[in-house]
Symmetry: C2
Subunit: 218 residues, 2 copies
DNA sequence: CCAAAAGTGTTCCGTCTACACCCATGG
DNA sequence: CCATGGGTGTAGACGGAACACTTTTGG
């Protein structure tokens, strides 16, 4: 099969974080200007190198906590990117991770510290290296999974209205949705439950607040 | 964002190949006994280290060609695996790739040279390190994609009967299928076309041979 | 009183599922 | 002539898509 280690080369391995948030009715991505060479000043995902004492996923968690202050969040591997010249400096193999967070939980002071901004995914600028590819792959994954998994809750506060929920679906799939059909579907999926609370922010009449249903106990 | 390279560690990076084939009505995997330490003698996927002059995907292609003699084949990345102790010797980060090949195209002499065998996926032994996880993830991917993409042709000879095609579906999804419904669906999907040829191997009456439809020209 | 968002059912159509018998042929 | 696998249609269930009006209330 393979030969023993010593004959082989070693590479830098990094993680790049694709952080999605939902704000102003749009799906947004957290990106910033690179603060070092190569590529200084270019728009880029936030990333970091993998350390010896951590797994890939741990590295992604650590990097995300550094960036957002959040410990737990939805996190999925998008894939490994290893073109020879993907990093113009050294050879770096990068593993992309996709995270979903609630924009409101984001620590504003950390946002400034890292110089990152929320940018709507349909207004993304060209990003450093192969980061646009990573983002595209992450979006495709999200779209597929949205039909299978109740992802959307990660992008919303713990109490949300049905209109907000629908906006999340529309933002991810980039297509409008019939209100009645959407609500019927959500009801049948049985992921959410109505609370007695009412949100009066968005309308005069007020909208019922829902929450994500905890898994039924055994 | 991140600091410059020199402070960071480098790692061995390998590719592991999950090679599926279809034979005797079953979905099978190409595995062999490890011929080196650590883990000598354990069942294992076939893999190799990534070289400096090749991308991850190139490394997978090279490794697969070494193993099977085949140059072109269906190949998809399954994911990166990077637990700290996944390799008991050194830290090795591995990227798993899933390949689909037609068992008949397999060069028997290479099979012996590499000491690998076809093993049905529902009879898999415990594999070296995290290889079972890789296989499980690959199978899950296959199942999802089968509904979206015309994968199955990669596992069959260029001419095949509808019964064979159905067996591939059944082997991947591990559930039986109604013959009439299956054929109706295939017809409507418009991926295959009937030829004038007839296969007399499998039945006295003979079964029509089909082929994968080349994309309609523009 | 009116603008703005919330909330609510029915009908239609297409897709999926279940189901059983005749056909052609080699041995 | 019979065992073996190949080939075919229909009816009912189900789920998704289209579609419009009433309610509430803050300003």
């Amino acid at each position: 099969m393979t030969n023993f280690y010593s004959e082989h080369s070693r590479y830098f391995v990094s993680v790049d974080c694709i952080v999605f948030g939902f704000d102003e009715g749009k799906l947004k991505l957290l990106i910033g200007r690179r603060q070092m060479d190569p590529g200084r000043g270019e728009w880029s995902l936030y990333g970091g190198f993998v350390r010896e004492e951590e797994s890939l996923e741990d590295a992604a968690h650590r990097t995300l906590q550094e960036l957002t202050g959040l410990k737990k969040m939805y996190l999925k591997q998008v894939g490994a990117f290893g073109a020879i010249d993907r990093d113009p400096g050294e050879r770096v193999i990068s593993v992309a991770y996709c995270a979903l967070i609630n924009v409101k939980d984001y620590n504003r002071h950390l946002q400034e510290k890292h110089g990152v901004e929320w940018v709507a995914i349909n207004e993304l600028p060209p990003l450093y290296s192969d980061h646009n590819k990573m983002v595209q792959k992450a979006i495709n994954m999200l779209r597929k999974r949205l039909g299978t998994e109740p992802l959307s809750f990660n992008l919303l506060p713990s109490l949300f209205t049905l209109t907000q929920l629908q906006q999340v679906y529309e933002a991810i799939l980039d297509e409008p949705n019939d209100k009645r059909n959407f609500r019927k579907r959500m009801k049948s999926l049985d992921f959410i439950e109505k609370t007695e609370l009412v949100d009066k922010q968005s309308s005069k009449r007020g909208a019922a607040l829902y929450r994500f249903k905890k898994k039924a106990e055994v």
